[in-house]
């Protein structure tokens, strides 16, 4: 970028860009054209704001400039396609909007529209995540490419393919019908949570140049919540992210190694994030039937509020996992329920439950079974078998810090760990 804006301008632009983009997309019905127009408006802002100061209404300013660019683009387009009479009308309309300067043209619905578009069901999660970071997160293609450790050209292609897929799906750029809205909102939340976990678990790579995906996901969850303030599940999702992210400072040791929940130094947890997350989830739960994000947030809150592993309210954690199990039918949740069960009923009962779960073909042979079994065997004092299970589990993960953790666990149990910490 030619003009270098100050950080505060950058922040201001990033905050306003999604709504402006949503409004422009709604106006012209063309996501790509809207994005081009926004880019030009942002460029204009980079040039004009540092000299003249930020306008009183930055969003309105960007929207007006964007509308003018849209009108200009349509004009040159119509020079080629004069036969299409409606182009003239659209152009006149865009001009009128540009000149009216009505900020009421931008609504929270425009942010929502953008979320629904970027997390379109026709896209793979892979593409939707990239597009969401671009359009709603305001990240550059280069930044997104770095976050996923792929070449910039690859990411540029992925994003442009995603846009094309949306166009090809033939759905107009409009808010989904009321009947479809809940399931579309679910897709949006799923993408944001995937993005969060990508940052949360994929802690490898040169972190100095990596955009913090979990922080981006939290930022976007806040944006979604501002657009859907009455939705308890959206609040639950944001709470879940905050309550998990609060443990981030304690999640890795001095050499970047993984520190599991029960070994973390709780003094290093982020109290402000815990307070905010707890407040959010408490309020959300008062509204009635809890969805899967609220349940997970409630579990996270119980961990975060406990002064130690022993003082954790395990019976309540277990009860919440049972609810979550019923709501999702997901065997991974059952696995977590079994880990909680060990803290309530002891490891022997939990090992029995694990043997039963293993009959579920969806999870049989998954390395996470070995992880939990290793842990339970260790609790039960079955050292030899625990070592074997930790080793087997280590072969099952493609995540480097996680594999190191499991290998180290086995080595420590065997007494061969030269680092020798308990």
């Amino acid at each position: 970028m030619a003009a270098s804006g100050s950080p505060e301008f950058e922040e201001l632009l990033r905050d306003h860009a999604p709504r402006v983009l949503g409004a422009l997309a709604r106006r012209c019905g063309d996501f790509s054209a809207a994005e081009d127009a926004l880019q030009e408006a942002l460029l204009a802002a980079h040039v004009e704001w540092p000299a003249a100061g930020a306008p009183a209404n930055p969003g309105g300013w960007l929207y007006r400039v964007g509308c003018r660019r849209l009108a200009d683009a349509q004009e040159s387009e119509s020079a080629r396609k004069r036969r299409e009479s409606h182009v003239g009308e659209a152009r006149a309309e865009a001009r009128a909007a540009a000149d009216s300067g009505e900020d009421a043209l931008m609504e929270h619905d425009d942010t929502l529209l953008l979320f629904f578009t970027c997390c379109h069901p026709a896209l793979t999660a892979h593409s939707a995540t990239a597009l969401t970071l671009r359009a709603l997160g305001g990240l550059t293609t280069a930044e997104i490419a770095r976050a996923f450790l792929v070449p910039e050209a690859t990411m540029a292609q992925r994003i442009s393919r995603a846009k094309q897929t949306i166009v090809d799906s033939g759905r107009s750029l409009a808010l989904p019908a009321e009947s479809e809205r809940a399931s579309r909102l679910e897709s949006v939340m799923q993408i944001l949570y995937l993005m969060f976990n990508e940052g949360h678990l994929g802690s490898s790579g040169p972190s100095l140049v990596r955009v913090e995906l979990s922080s981006e996901a939290i930022r976007l969850a806040r944006l979604l919540r501002a657009a859907q303030p009455a939705d308890a599940e959206v609040a639950g999702l944001l709470a879940l992210m905050l309550l998990s992210d609060a443990r981030r400072p304690a999640r890795t040791g001095p050499d970047g190694e993984l520190v599991p929940l029960h070994e973390q130094d709780r003094a290093r947890w982020d109290r402000a994030a815990i307070a905010e997350g707890t407040q959010l989830i408490s309020t959300a739960l008062e509204r009635g039937a809890a969805g899967i994000y609220q349940l997970q947030a409630a579990i996270a809150a119980l961990h975060d509020e406990a002064p130690s592993v022993a003082e954790t309210d395990w019976p309540r954690v277990l009860a919440l996992y049972r609810l979550l199990e019923r709501a999702t039918g997901n065997p991974m949740v059952s696995l977590n329920r079994i880990a909680a069960q060990a803290m309530v009923d002891g490891p022997t009962k939990a090992l029995e439950a694990l043997a039963e779960l293993e009959r579920d073909a969806r999870i049989a042979g998954h390395f996470r079974i070995a992880v939990v079994r290793a842990h339970l065997l260790e609790l039960a004092g079955e050292r030899e078998r625990a070592i074997r299970e930790y080793r087997q589990a280590a072969n099952g993960t493609a995540n480097l810090p996680e594999r190191s953790y499991l290998i180290t666990k086995a080595a420590r149990l065997e007494g061969t760990d030269t680092a020798g910490s308990a």
């Binding site: 793979t124 999660a125 892979h126 593409s127 990239a130 996923f148 450790l149 792929v150 070449p151 050209a153 690859t154 990411m155 540029a156 292609q157 992925r158 994003i159 442009s160 393919r161 995603a162 995937l194 976990n197 990508e198 949360h200 678990l201 994929g202 490898s204 790579g205 993960t397 493609a398 995540n399 480097l400 810090p401 996680e402 594999r403």
Partner: protein, 129 residues
């Protein structure tokens, strides 16, 4: 998730290469070029490289004081060689398998699929989502 797709060749295969007709060879190269271009256009390609013939390979080991001990060629008993590789970033393991299957169908003599064995390995540090 990222996967490395490794294309293996056999000693016999390398030797047979010299008996391919220019047209057969060209078709094979064109296929590989087009294949990489398609992966790039899909936003899935991280990198792709073809390797020089194994006859030019050297095996290096650290000797005393870190000095390089260099031997010509791969181990004599080696029957399969890495001929080239792709690293792809895809939404699922199934997609990686599909890509490997498509690569394996590269044309050989008579324009028929060879078919090349492609080994798939997940790249570590991809988060387990």
């Amino acid at each position: 998730m990222k996967f490395m797709l490794m294309m293996h060749g056999t000693r016999k295969g390398w030797e047979a290469l010299s008996s391919w007709s220019p047209a057969e060879f060209k078709a094979h190269v064109e296929f590989m070029k087009g294949f990489a271009a398609k992966l790039a256009a899909a936003g899935e390609l991280v990198m792709a490289e073809g390797l020089d013939v194994p006859m030019n390979a050297k095996v290096v080991q650290a000797g005393k004081g870190g000095a390089a001990l260099v031997n010509d060629g791969p181990f004599p008993e080696t029957k399969e060689f890495l001929a080239g590789f792709w690293i792809v970033d895809v939404p699922s393991p199934e997609r990686a398998v599909a890509i490997a299957a498509a690569a394996s169908a590269a044309p050989g003599p008579g324009g028929k699929p060879i078919p090349i064995p492609i080994e798939i390995r997940q790249v570590m540090s991809a988060p387990p989502v």
